[in-house]
C-alpha cells in the first residue's frame, strides 16, 4: 500500500473532523444569538422596579481564597463588602500565606479572633483560627496551605448562607453582579444548583477603587487576543451551551452555587487542577435524572487580569488543558450516556471531541502537512483552499462574538476598539493557534506523566 493511498483516508478523516468541529461551534454560536436576544428583553423591565429591594433574595457567602494576596486583599474585600446585594457575608480563607495577608486584613478591618473551636467539620487542611468583624459581615479563616480547592472547601463548609459565590481575590466584581447572577435562583428556587457570570479582561481598562471606570484594550497584543477569546468563550460559547442545557464550566473567578448541593457532592475536589470544571461536571452527574439546572447569566461581570507574557499564559493554558483532560477522564463513564441527558449526549462528547482532541489534531496537522509537502504527496491547491476555509470559519466565529458584543452589552464602545478586536481575531490564526496547539500537546504529555503543577500567575496589578 503506497503513501498516496493512505493519504485519501487521512484527508477524509481531517475533512470530516473539520466539519464536526466547525459545525458544532457554528451551532452553539447561533443558539447564543437567540438566547442573548431573549435576555435583552428582560432588561426592559429594569426601569419599573428595583430588584435590590426584593425581600426574597437568599443570603450569599462570597468565598475568597487568598494565598499571598497582601497587596490586594484589603481593597478586594472592601469592594466585595460594598456589592449591591442585601445579604452578603464575605468569607476570606487565608490559605497558609507566607506574606502578610492575614495581618493586613486583620488590621484593615479590625478583626477579632473567635475564642472557640469551629463546631462543624471542615473538610480541609488544619484551621488555626477564625477572625470576625463585629461591624461588617466579614469572616477570615486562617488555615494551613492546601491549595485553592481546599481553601474554597473551608469557606463552603463554614458558611451558613444558602448560596455561595466563589471569587478570586484579585478579580473585580461589578457592583450589581450578585443581584443578576442570583436571579435564576429566584426564578427556579429548587431547580437551580449553580449559575455563572461572564469574566472579562481588565488589562487596558481604567479602574478606581475596585471599579472599572473605562473599558479599553491593552497595549499588549497577547492580552488583546485573549479579549477576543474571552468574548468567544463567554458571549457565544457559554451562552450557547447554557441555552442547550450543556454548560460544563462555571469559571472559578465568578460562580454562584447552592451551598447544600455542593456540600452534598463533597465540595471541591482537591485532586484536580481545574476544580471549577470538575465540580460542575460532578454536580451534573449527581443530579442527573432530577429536575435541576445549571445556568450561565451573561450580563453580570467580573473583571480579571490575563497574562500578558507568553510563558505565564503558557503555564495557565497548560493547566486548563490538563484539567480538561483530567475531568473528562474522571467522568468518562458519562460520555454518550442517555442517563445524563444533554450533558452525556452533547456536552461531554463536544468537550471530548472538539475541545480536547481538537487542538491535538490541529497540532498533528501542523506536522503532517509539511511532511506531505516534502514527500510531494500534498495536493497544494486543495490544501490552500482547505486552509483558507479553516481560517475563514475561525475568523467568522470570532467576529460573530464581536458582533454579539456590539449588539448586546457594548462594553467596548468605540469603533476603534471594535475594529481592533476584529483585527486581533485575525492575528489569532498565526502564530497564536499553532503555539496553543503545541501547549496542548505538552499538556497531554505532562498529564500522561502525572505532572500537575499549578503554575504561578504573575500579575502586574490594576491601574
Amino acid at each position: 500500500m503506497g503513501l498516496s493511498s493512505l493519504l485519501w483516508p487521512i484527508s477524509v478523516f481531517f475533512v470530516a473532523y473539520f466539519l464536526l468541529v466547525n459545525g458544532s461551534y457554528l451551532f452553539i454560536h447561533l443558539v447564543s444569538f437567540v438566547v442573548l436576544r431573549w435576555n435583552v428583553r428582560d432588561w426592559l423591565f429594569k426601569p419599573t422596579y428595583d430588584p435590590y429591594r426584593s425581600p426574597f433574595l437568599p443570603g450569599i457567602a462570597v468565598v475568597v481564597p487568598a494565598y499571598n494576596e497582601e497587596a490586594v486583599i484589603v481593597d478586594s474585600v472592601r469592594s466585595l463588602l460594598n456589592l449591591e446585594y442585601p445579604q452578603v457575608e464575605v468569607v476570606v480563607v487565608n490559605d497558609g500565606s507566607t506574606d502578610g495577608t492575614l495581618d493586613t486584613i486583620r488590621d484593615g478591618f479590625d478583626l477579632d479572633r473567635i475564642d472557640a473551636p469551629v463546631p462543624y467539620d471542615l473538610p480541609c487542611e488544619s484551621v488555626h483560627d477564625i477572625y470576625q468583624s463585629s461591624e461588617r459581615n466579614l469572616v477570615v479563616i486562617d488555615k494551613d496551605n492546601g491549595g485553592k480547592a481546599d481553601a474554597l472547601n473551608a469557606g463552603v463548609f463554614f458558611t451558613d448562607q444558602p448560596l455561595f459565590c466563589a471569587i478570586d481575590a484579585d478579580s473585580m466584581v461589578e457592583r450589581t453582579a450578585l443581584l443578576e447572577v442570583a436571579e435564576p435562583f429566584l426564578r427556579r428556587p429548587t431547580q437551580t444548583v449553580a449559575t455563572g457570570g461572564a469574566v472579562r479582561v481588565v488589562n487596558g481598562c481604567s479602574t478606581s477603587r475596585g471599579i472599572v471606570t473605562d473599558v479599553g484594550l491593552s497595549g499588549s497584543r497577547l492580552a488583546n487576543i485573549q479579549v477576543v477569546e474571552y468574548l468567544r468563550a463567554f458571549l457565544s460559547g457559554r451562552v450557547g451551551l447554557s441555552g442547550l442545557g450543556s454548560l460544563l464550566i462555571i469559571s472559578g473567578a465568578f460562580g454562584l452555587f447552592r451551598t447544600s448541593a455542593v456540600r452534598e457532592v463533597g465540595g471541591y475536589s482537591t485532586e484536580t487542577i481545574t476544580e471549577d470544571m470538575e465540580l460542575v461536571v460532578r454536580l451534573h452527574r449527581h443530579f442527573a435524572g432530577t429536575d435541576y439546572q445549571v445556568e450561565f447569566v451573561p450580563y453580570p461581570v467580573v473583571w480579571t487580569e490575563v497574562p500578558s507574557r507568553r510563558n505565564v499564559l503558557g503555564r495557565q493554558r497548560m493547566r486548563w488543558f490538563q484539567g480538561l483532560l483530567e475531568t473528562l477522564w474522571i467522568h468518562r463513564s458519562m460520555v454518550g450516556r442517555r442517563k445524563y441527558g444533554a450533558i452525556g449526549l452533547f456536552a461531554l462528547p463536544f468537550f471530548l471531541l472538539v475541545e480536547a482532541i481538537g487542538p491535538l489534531i490541529e497540532g498533528l496537522g501542523y506536522v503532517i502537512v509539511p511532511v506531505a509537502f516534502l514527500l510531494g504527496v500534498l495536493n497544494v491547491p486543495f490544501f490552500l483552499l482547505f486552509l483558507s476555509i479553516a481560517i475563514g470559519i475561525g475568523t467568522l466565529l470570532s467576529w460573530l462574538s464581536v458582533l454579539n458584543e456590539v449588539l448586546s452589552f457594548q462594553r467596548y464602545r468605540t469603533p476603534r476598539d471594535i475594529a481592533l478586536l476584529l483585527g486581533y481575531a485575525m492575528l489569532e490564526h498565526f502564530p497564536y493557534r499553532q503555539w496553543k496547539s503545541a501547549i496542548s500537546w505538552l499538556a497531554l504529555v505532562r498529564y500522561v506523566r502525572g505532572n500537575a503543577e499549578w503554575g504561578e500567575m504573575v500579575r502586574s496589578g490594576f491601574d
Binding site: 428583553r41 423591565f45 461591624e135 451558613d160 444558602p162 447544600s260 467568522l396
Partner: protein, 369 residues
C-alpha cells in the same frame, strides 16, 4: 472537488466580510448616536428641570422644537426621573408626557403584534400610572408571561378596584409557569398588606401547581400579612408534610410572621417538625421559635441545642437563644464526655461557638434551605 471548495471559500470570505461590515457599521452608528445622546442629555436635563419650575412650562411647544434624537433623549430622561421623583416635579413630568402624547402612543402600542412593542407600551403606562381597563389588558397581554407580568404591574401601580385579584390572577394564569423575578416582585407588592388574592388562589388551586411555582408563592406569602382564616392556616399546616423539604421550610416560614396570633400556633406541630429529616426545615423551625419567643418556644430551642443530631442546627438553635436573650443550656463538655453522654461534647461546642461569635451571620430571605 477543488472548484467546489473554492466556491465554499469564496462564500465564507463573503460571509466574514458581511459580518465585519455589519459589526463595524453598528458599532459606528451606535457610538455616534450614544455620544450625541450623551451630549444632548447634558444640555437638556438642566433645561428640563428649569422648565419644571415654571408655572406654565409649555411642554408641547418645547418638545416640538427639538429634533427627533433630542425628543428621544427627552423621553428617556422622563422615563428615568418618573421612577425617581415624587410630588410636583413628578406631576410636571406626567404633564409633559401627556402634552407630547407619550401616553396615547403607549396605549396604541398595546395593539402591536410585536411583543417588545407591547412590553414597552405597558412599561410606559406603568411609569405614567395610566390606568387601562382589565378587559383590554387581558385582550392584549395574556399571550406571554412577560406581558402578563407587565400588565399586573400596571394594575398594581394604578390601584383600581379589584386590582389585587385581577393582577394576581394574571400573574398566576398558568399553573405550570414559574414567575420571573419581576413577576415575583409584583406579586409581593400586590399582596404585601392584604394577601387574600394570593391565598384564595393558593388554597383553591395550589395543590395542582408546579412545585416551583408553589414554592415561589410561599416565599412571597412569608413576607405578607395574612388574614385570620382557619382554612388558610389548615392548608398551610398540611404543607408542613409536603414531600419537598423546600416547600415544608417555606410553608413554615409563612407561620413565622403570623406567630404573634396565638391561635395560629396550633397549626404547627413543633414536636414533629423538630424531628424533620431535613436540617434546613429544622433550621427554619428554630428561626420561627426565636421569632415567637414564648416560654414554650424557648424550651423547644433549649431542647434542640442538646438533641439535634446536626452540628449546624445545634449552632442555629444556640444562636437563636442568645439573640433573643434566653438562657442557653449549660453543658460541661469534659464532664459530659467522661460520662459518655451522646452528643454532649458537640452541643457544648455549639454553645461555646454561639457565645463567642462577635457577629452571627444574618439570615437572608426566609424559606431557603
Amino acid at each position: 472537488m477543488t472548484a467546489w471548495l473554492s466556491d465554499v471559500a469564496i462564500a465564507i470570505v463573503g460571509i466574514c466580510l458581511l459580518v465585519a461590515a455589519i459589526t463595524l457599521c453598528i458599532a459606528v452608528v451606535r457610538y455616534s448616536i450614544d455620544t450625541r445622546r450623551e451630549t444632548i442629555r447634558h444640555e437638556l436635563v438642566p433645561e428640563l428641570f428649569a422648565r419644571i419650575d415654571r408655572s406654565d412650562p409649555d411642554w408641547e411647544h418645547w418638545y416640538e422644537s427639538h429634533s427627533r434624537l433630542e425628543r428621544y433623549v427627552i423621553r428617556r430622561v422622563v422615563a428615568q426621573y418618573l421612577r425617581q421623583l415624587r410630588g410636583r416635579e413628578r406631576e410636571q413630568l406626567l404633564a409633559l408626557a401627556t402634552a407630547v402624547g407619550i401616553d396615547d402612543r403607549a396605549i396604541r402600542s398595546l395593539e402591536s403584534r410585536r411583543l417588545t412593542t407591547r412590553l414597552r407600551g405597558l412599561i410606559w403606562l406603568t411609569l405614567l400610572e395610566q390606568p387601562v381597563s382589565v378587559d383590554r389588558l387581558r385582550a392584549t397581554s395574556l399571550g406571554h408571561p412577560s406581558t402578563r407580568a407587565a400588565a399586573a404591574r400596571l394594575l398594581l401601580v394604578c390601584r383600581g378596584s379589584n386590582a389585587n385579584e385581577e393582577a394576581t390572577s394574571l400573574l398566576l394564569w398558568q399553573n405550570e409557569e414559574r414567575l420571573s423575578v419581576f413577576a415575583l416582585d409584583t406579586l409581593y407588592r400586590l399582596n404585601q398588606t392584604d394577601a387574600s388574592a394570593l391565598t384564595s388562589k393558593l388554597t383553591v388551586d395550589g395543590q395542582w401547581w408546579d412545585e416551583e411555582l408553589l414554592l415561589q408563592c410561599l416565599l412571597v406569602l412569608g413576607h405578607c400579612r395574612l388574614e385570620r382564616r382557619p382554612a388558610l392556616f389548615e392548608w398551610l399546616g398540611e404543607l408542613l408534610e409536603h414531600d419537598s423539604p423546600s416547600v415544608r421550610a417555606a410553608a413554615l416560614s409563612t407561620f413565622e410572621r403570623q406567630g404573634w396570633q396565638p391561635a395560629v400556633r396550633q397549626y404547627v406541630d413543633i414536636e414533629r417538625i423538630i424531628s424533620d429529616p431535613a436540617p434546613g426545615v429544622r433550621i427554619t423551625c428554630y428561626a420561627l421559635l426565636g421569632r415567637w419567643g414564648d416560654p414554650t418556644s424557648v424550651e423547644w430551642l433549649q431542647y434542640a441545642v442538646v438533641t439535634d443530631p446536626n452540628d449546624r442546627c445545634r449552632v442555629t438553635a444556640a444562636r437563636t437563644l442568645i439573640r433573643i436573650g434566653a438562657s442557653v443550656p449549660v453543658i460541661e463538655s469534659e464532664a459530659a464526655r467522661a460520662a459518655d453522654v451522646e452528643g454532649a461534647a458537640e452541643s457544648a461546642a455549639a454553645i461555646a461557638w454561639a457565645n463567642t461569635e462577635r457577629n452571627p451571620p444574618r439570615r437572608g430571605a426566609a424559606g431557603w434551605v
